[in-house]
Each structure stands twice: as C-alpha cells, then as structure tokens.
Amino acid sequence: MAPEPPLLTMSGITKSFPGVRALDGVDLHVQAGEVHCLLGQNGAGKSTLIKVLAGAHQPDDGTIVWRGDEVTLRSPIAAMRLGIATIYQELDLVEGLSVAENVYLGHESTSAGFVVRGRDARASTAALLKRLGHDEIDPARLVGDLSAAQQQIVSMARALSHEVRLIVMDEPSAALDPDEVDNLFRIVGDLTAAGVAVVYISHRLEEIRRIGDRVTVLKDGRAVAVGLPAKETPTREVIALMTGRNVEYVFPERPQPPGSGAAARPEPVLSVQGLARDGEFAPLDLELRPGEIVGLAGLVGSGRSEILETIFGARKPTSGQVRVDGRALRPGSVRAAVRAGLGLAPEERKAQALLMLESVTRNVSVSSMSRFSYGGWLDRAKELRAARDATRELSLRPDNPSVPVRTLSGGNQQKAVLARWLLRGCRVLLLDEPTRGVDVGARAELYTVIRRLADEGLAVLLVSSEVPEVLGLADRVLVLREGHVVHRAPARDLDEHRVLDLVLASGQHGPTHTEGPHSPATTEGSPAS
C-alpha cells in the first residue's frame, strides 16, 4: 500500500509582529488519524502557529498544503469549511446563549432562510454530547451556568458539528480533573479511530506520552524537532529541546563566587518569610543581597510568576511577609513595594508594563514623576534628560526617547521597563521571563545589562523557563515544582540535567509538605462519579 499523503503540510511558515518575529520558518506535518503533539514554552510560537492554521492570522511567508492542494486560509470560516476546527484555551463560547445555540452559532439550521429551528439544533446537539460521553449536559441550558469542564465539552461539540478532519486542541486538559482528562483521552481516541487528526497542545508531558503519536517542538519561533515519535523519545530529551539553547551564549562573568567571605557579605536587602498563596505556592523563604542574582527555575505552572507578583504586592499573600531592609511591607500593596525600592518587569510586557500609546520617555518616567515635578508641575526638560540618561545607560535603541514605545523591538521594550525602575532608583529588580518575546540575537546584550545592574549593587530575582538562562545568569538558584521549592544551590553547583531531574521528579523525591496546594494526588484516587 502506498503511503498516504499527509493530511496537512505546513512549510516555512513565518509571521512577524511589530518588534518580534513570532514564527520563523516553521514546518508542521500532520497525518490523518494521528495525535500530533505541539510542544513549546510560553512565547515559543504555538499560539501563533495554531492561529495561522485556524485562519485567524495570515502568515507572512510559507505554504499550507491541505490534502494535496495548496490552500490559503483567509479567515476562520475558510479553515472551518476545509474541516479544520480549533478549540482555544480561552473558550470562545457565548455565555448568554444555550448549549445548542453555541454549538450551531454561525451555522444555524434554518427554515425559510431565517427562522432558527431550535428543536433540530437541540436534538443534534444532544446526539453530539452523547457521543462525547456527556449526555448529562442539557442542550437548552445556558453555557454560563456550566462548569469549565462542561464548557470545554460544548466547545468540542461545536468543533464536531462541522465536517471535521483536523481538530486543534489548545491545552484542553488545563481546566480538567483527572477523570475528566480520561474522558477527554477517550474522545481523542474515538476521533483518531475515525480518521480525524488531532493537534494536541499541552505542557503536561505525561499526557503526551499517553496519547501522542508524534511530537513537534517549537522554540523561539522555530521548530527544533519535527515529528519525533511521542512514545519513544525520552522525556528529558523533549524538555531539553523546549528549554535548551539553539545558540550557545557566553553569559557575563560573575564577579566573585558568592558565599566566600561571609563577613564581607552585605546585609540582605530583601527578605521573604513564609510567603504563601493558597493554591499557588507553598510558604517560601528567601533572602536577596545587593549585587546578587537569584534565579527561580521551574516549568510553567510551578508558581514562579505568582511568587514574583506576590512579593511585588500585586497579589495579596495568604500568609507571610516581605521585608525590605528589615521593614515589613504592607501586604498586597504595589505602592508600598515601589516606595520601598522594588521594581517588577512582568512577563506580559505589553499588557502589564507598557503604555503602548505613549513615548519611551513617558513609559520610563511614569514611576518617578515626583522626581521632576514641583507640586505636580512637570519639568519636561528634566524628564526628557532623565529618561535619555536612563535609556542610554542601557543602550536602548533607537537613541531617541521621544519615539513611541510600540515601535521598539521586544528587547528594547524590555530595556524601557528596566530604565523605568533604574530611574526610580530601585534596589530590588524582579524579572519575570526577561527575554520572552526578545529576538534570540538580542538576548546576550540583555544578559550583560542585567549582570551589570547587579554589579552596580542591585539585587535581582530572576524567573525563567529556560534553564540555561537561569544557570548562566544567576548566582544562586531555587528550583520550583508545583509551588514548592525543591532545591536550593549555587548556580555553579548545578547543571541543566540536574535541574531538569528536579523539575520533573515525581512527588516522593521532593521534600514532604503536608499542606501542598491543590495536590492532584488527593483527587486521583477518588472513585469516579
């Protein structure tokens, strides 16, 4: 029998957004009836790729061949007509409509052209739900009244209400309990048995091993591995592909081995005592001294960003304290943290840090306006001078702080955020994925900047999904797994393999915490319904 032509062949897909190249020549080959897993860190380009496949983004370059013919997916409807359905992580259901109305939204069965035939829709929706193993969902109920898991089923029913040959599922298990995940896998099995291909996106590697046939790994907008066998490829290799480097960097040198000459060590500027948030991370103790870079390593969902945001006061802790120079900060107050000298460069730079309509100057000066204002009256010359000095110190390009911040590249936007805190005179810098959305070539410069800031006396707490980044930049490393610190060590005593082992290790290797947040082990053993 001749080998079947692939169902879908995407080749050389390239897509740029202002400031960053999201996809850089990505290939994806999907066979009918397979579960093809798409892996990658946040920002690796998975979302952009599936949006191209769903017709929501138009690629700048590259070809899409669908069942032997080259196609252009001009719109989501065009993709749907070909039989490509996408179930997004952010469910795209209308809460105020019923289950059946959602399933048939946009392709309602009508008589006389406009009268919606609700009863037919309800009957066929009920049939779809039954096929999905969820006939307890009433097609007439409002979607807003359903649980997250049930909404996911509705989303899936909507996908199946079309003639579908390929379903893209973006982290479908993220909101599900273990027995619901089993049901999801059964559905995926039924679909593939019927010849439908599934592109499955997940961070949970054990799921990929359970149901995946082949794996494509994205990193920094490139496919670093295409079509690996899902069951045979060692987990470590997959993780190394996701977190590793495709370019070797020379990280800036550490000034002196930390920990030597304890007498000379400065007092900690930041100390975190028993800080915890229910369901996010377990009590954490941490000290940060001037000139030191401490890294938090862990996979997505390990509580890394939550820890930074809680230290910064953007989230209110359940318990514990943050002290700067020994003085406790008011919990849950960003202003208190900023006043005490903390600065945060958040993961979602555009949504959480930048004023995209404004100039670089105004983005840089926003946290320290009192320094160039007298009774609320701005000295704009002084402001511009200060912003220019701060951005020059970080070699921000272009060397003109009057340009709108949105015209900058990702790396320079990050420098604008850093300049904001420098100008403020910040003493503790919290960096959440500082090189996310930064072109690979521009990262080394950012590393040099971060190290130089530390050498000048800043204390830096660094979060990154990329293990080599944490190991290369930090002096000390805390390894996180599911909200717990499972290991602390100087960075030079760790290597990538050791960290991956710690990050992936199953429960019994870690320290025993009696009150773990949201431990899935407690629900796993319970009998189903």
Binding site: S365, V366, W377, L384, D399
Partner: protein, 339 residues
Amino acid sequence: MTQPASPARPVTEKSPPADGDKSPWRSRVARADVRTLSLLGVLAALVVIGGVTEPDAFLDTDNLQLILTQASVIGVVTVGMTFVIISGGIDLSVGAIVALASVWATTVATQDYGFAGILFTAVVVGLGCGLVNGLLIAYGGMVPFIATLAMLASGRGLALEITDGKTQMVTVDGVLKLGERDSYVLGIPPLVMVFAAVTAVGWLLLNRTTFGRRSVAVGGNAEAARLAGIDVRRQRLYLYLLSGLCCGIAAFLLIILSGSGQNTNGNLYELDAIAAAIIGGTLLSGGRGTITGSVLGVLIFTTITNIFALNNLETAVQQIAKGAIIVAAVLVQRRTATT
C-alpha cells in the same frame, strides 16, 4: 539639546530604522496636527457657510458673542468629560449635576447669601456629586456607566424635588449683571472668559502636570499603571471630582446666562459633551485625547446649531446633522489612526 521636544521643532535626532519608512515620531506629530487642522478646517468651513447663507446675521458681533457664550456652558462640562474619557471612564451624570447644582444654588435660602452663596453652592454640589461618583467607581468597584447613570437618575429626581418643577428666578444683581453687555471686557462676555480659563487650566493640567500623565496612564493601561506604582483608584476618584467641579462651574455660568435655575437645565449635556470629546479625537477606550480637540468639537457643534437656527431649519435637521458629523469624524479618525 536639553529642551523638551516640541512638535514645531524639526527632528534632529537620528530617526529609528522602523521598517524603513519615515520616523514614527514625526508621523505621530503629523497625525496630531492633521487632527487639529482638520477640526479647524471644519470650523472654518462652517464659518464660511454661515457667512454665505446669512451674511448679515451670522458675522454680526452679537451673534459671534452668542455662539461663544452658548459654547461656554457645555464647553466647561466637556473639559471635565475629556479627562474622564481619557482615563477610560465615562460620566453620564454631567447634565443632571448641572441641573442639580443650578437649582440648589438658586433656592431662596441660598440666594440670601448673595453672589458668593450661589457660586459656592454650585461648586460644592458639583464636587459632592463627583465625590459620590468617584467613590462608587474607584472604591466601590462599580462600572462608570452604571454609577453615573444612577447619579443621572437621582440627580434629576433631586433637582425636581427641590424646585417642584418651577423656575427659580435669580434676584441677586451681581450675578445677573455678569450676563449683561456692560460687563463685557473688550467685547468678550465674562462667561467666555471663564470658558477660556477652564480650557487653559485643563490643557495645562493634562499636558504639564503629573495629574494629566497619571490620567492618561490609567486610561491607556490600568494594570500597567498599577504595577508602575500609580494609585489608580485615587486617580479615578480625582477624575470624577474634576468632572463634578466642571459641572458646578457650568451650572454657575448657566445661572448667569438664564437668570434662573431650572430642574430641566443641562438636558442631554452628557451626550453633547461625549460627542464633542469624541469628534475632538479622544479615544472612548481611553489613553488618548486632547483638550484642544474637545474645545474645537464644542465650537463646531455650537456653530452648527447657530447656523441652522439662523436659516430657520428645524431642530430635527440639526440633530441629524450632528449625528452625521460624529460618524464622519470617527470614520476619518479610524482611517488616520494606527493599526
């Protein structure tokens, strides 16, 4: 070289290599100028239309004074509204606040305190309503649309309760005199001077103070503003206070203009003020807007009303024309806006 970059100065800095086209900074300045210039163009065209259709009546000094006087009341309200919209909010209660402030300031009891009593009451009632709005929105977590809609309803109700539907005539000579020709300075009515002063203060507040910067930051990206250390809630409270203050001032101007206080005052001011701000280039989603644009928007609307009245056209036609202008202005802005 340490001077602040002013739009009029040519760009001397090295242009960024943004996609090889012209400097984005320059194009942004150009866009701002285009917007202001096109509004000025529309206003000029209206003056020409007025001058051609009713050459004697329109260009008469009295008529021009009338246009500016009528623009003053709604103009002052619009300055406050512009700040609120720039910060990502909306104030539907401005008309009701103007009504409430104007009737409270013209009760017999208040008028006993004379000129100062009327001015003080109008301003304090405006600030008080703004305070309630601000507290509900900033600290009560209410959506601005709902909170100010509630203020609209109860403000109008309270104004009716106070007047019992009757017109309250002003008997304080000092107030009435301000509306008369004798008090014009160099041909400029005092009301127009107040409008000019509020505009100037509003412009300086928006462009030259930390208050203005914070307003823009809150409207452009509230989460980023919060994480940058701005007290977003307090800023929101101040913004609704400012809008209330403007309504109080406008109520006082209206008392001078009409020589009375009525519970029907300020009818639909909320719509006129929002419309003027929007055609002036303020983004309804917040983060961008100018006082100049809003004031030009007010002048355009007032001039249209005047021309239509002089030509004996019905109010209905006026309103259709206003609607068309709003649509046209927003469509033009969408085209010139960045993607």
